[in-house]
Symmetry: C2
Subunit: 315 residues, 2 copies
């Protein structure tokens, strides 16, 4: 398929880099300032190189990528809240042109799910967003395969940064500030880690799962109860450990409510993955509890989820 | 879709029981002695009741189910080795009639994969068999979504009976004979548990995964190196535990070889699930190690996997 990749961060660049491996052609690629468009397929290494050296992907204007020839728009711009712009606008443009859309950007699916589904219903294109929850972990695809109506609840560790911080606090008896600084040095936490440690990122994923499990619920971030880990004293983790337990930032969707917060879990439970790993448990009607774990983020990991979503679209 | 369900064991009866919930109609249902056929949909509770009380599902001959009107043949007869009959013949008949096939029976996929794929290539029908590996755990579907060429190895605990026995031996310091008798009392082990404890069942699942990951390999059970748990002394588990480890019956496919045998694993590792739970790890090219765990067997669980496979077939 021909892909237009919008966004040139870790995920967008990895999609451009891997697309040919998956048998697809990138016909357009844009960051916020520039674009490169070629109906025959862009020169991926030249564009990635230009991005690295000059900070732009090509000579064209970003809008030209949106109006280019493509089958699937890959929306990989940064997640924004509220109106979820400019990602929402990109999705809308593609669907109005009867094109398919695969999102890595959580904003439009978490904040404007009902509108996205309404646009999709009017379009010949379909919308997929498996990469927004748990990177390459098969969370959304497993829910689809089971049928959302046969899954009653989801619980998960869906933020690798927060999980890394909690793992280190628990293992070393260090306090939050110390471990966060270490995580930033290691590149595990961003310079501004607010959305990771205050629970927003996990909540967005919980809202996306809620929208899939309960499509009439029209959940947004505003519906989630969210508590982060910033104020968690190191002593809490020590107390937990003495009891054979630990603390994880758990996102839950059950009984029509999305909740995020630090929770006590058994030390070796499926919901106590170590380091940056993520884990998800689904409560199914006919098959009990199903767990999935893996790397929940990362450019290449998430790009591979995006490309799996592209495969799932019937050409 | 209209289903013909062949086999009236735990899985076949659960498929008949659940089909309507999933929006499908059972038009034929057979055990080895009898069948019930109705193009408008059989009376599921009457057939299941007849099976329980009289040992037969209806008044028709089993062959009538194979020639009935249906879209998908559900092959749920017991797994047989070698020529994999009668399951293989059922699949062949359906494909020659251009019907789809969903298998819960491991035999044809493990022992005659190349022939099944050749029959499928000549047919308008497609073959799916996600239920043969890990029940409702998304193992085969995740491999398909990633693309088999992007997964380099699989390791798993894929036999719940053997895992239950090892879990109990490890936790209680009991020996094999004692725990096996207990498992039989609990209904976790069958009266003849040979295939579970000698590694055959796990090996069949490993061979199926091998055939998916390396379609030109034409693997059969004869290609697997298989060792069971029957001769494992309880003292081995004790020794492992003193070292923070335990023993699990691990099936592995890597470097073109299927291997099954008792292996030392860290006590709380993803590959050391407790009791009858199963677990699978996939080594992916772009997304690191991915783990899935859940109930790997059970009539309802496996039936739900069969019905998910039915959903995946494009009507």
């Amino acid at each position: 398929m021909r892909l237009a990749v919008i966004g040139a961060g870790a995920v967008g660049t990895a999609v451009v880099d891997l697309a040919a491996d998956f048998g697809h052609t990138v016909t357009a690629f844009a960051d916020s300032q520039s674009a490169v468009v070629d109906p025959g397929g862009i020169d991926a290494s030249a564009a990635l190189n230009a991005k690295r050296t000059d900070g732009v992907v090509g000579d064209a204007a970003p809008s030209e990528a949106l109006s280019a020839d493509y089958d699937v728009l890959v929306e990989a711009t940064p997640t924004t809240l509220g109106d979820a712009q400019p990602g929402f606008g990109h999705v809308q443009t593609a669907l109005e042109r009867d094109r398919h859309v695969v999102l890595a950007n959580k904003g439009p699916i978490a904040e404007r799910y009902a509108e996205i589904r309404a646009l999709e219903a009017e379009s010949a294109g379909t919308v997929r967003f498996g990469a927004t929850v748990g990177g390459a972990m098969p969370v959304i695809s497993t829910i689809e395969d089971f049928g959302p109506e046969r899954i009653s609840a989801m619980r998960g560790v869906l933020n690798g940064t927060a999980n890394f911080v909690l793992t280190r606090m628990g293992a070393e008896g260090l306090d939050y500030e110390h471990v966060l600084a270490e995580a930033q040095d290691l590149g595990v936490a961003e310079a501004d880690p607010s959305f990771d440690v205050d629970g927003t990122d996990a909540a967005l994923k919980g809202v996306i799962v809620a929208n899939v499990l309960d499509p009439d619920g029209e959940y947004t971030l505003a519906d989630a109860e969210v508590e982060g880990i910033e104020d968690l004293p190191g002593s809490m983790l020590e107390l937990a450990r003495e009891d054979g337990r630990t603390i994880r930032l758990i996102v839950e969707f059950a009984d029509g409510q999305v909740r995020v917060g630090p929770r006590l879990v058994p030390e070796h439970a499926a919901l106590a993955p170590a380091g940056t790993r993520n884990a998800v448990q689904l409560e199914t009607e006919h098959a009990g509890q199903l767990s999935v774990s893996g790397r929940g983020a990362g450019g290449t990991e998430t790009a591979s989820a995006v490309l799996s979503d592209v495969e799932r679209i019937q050409p």
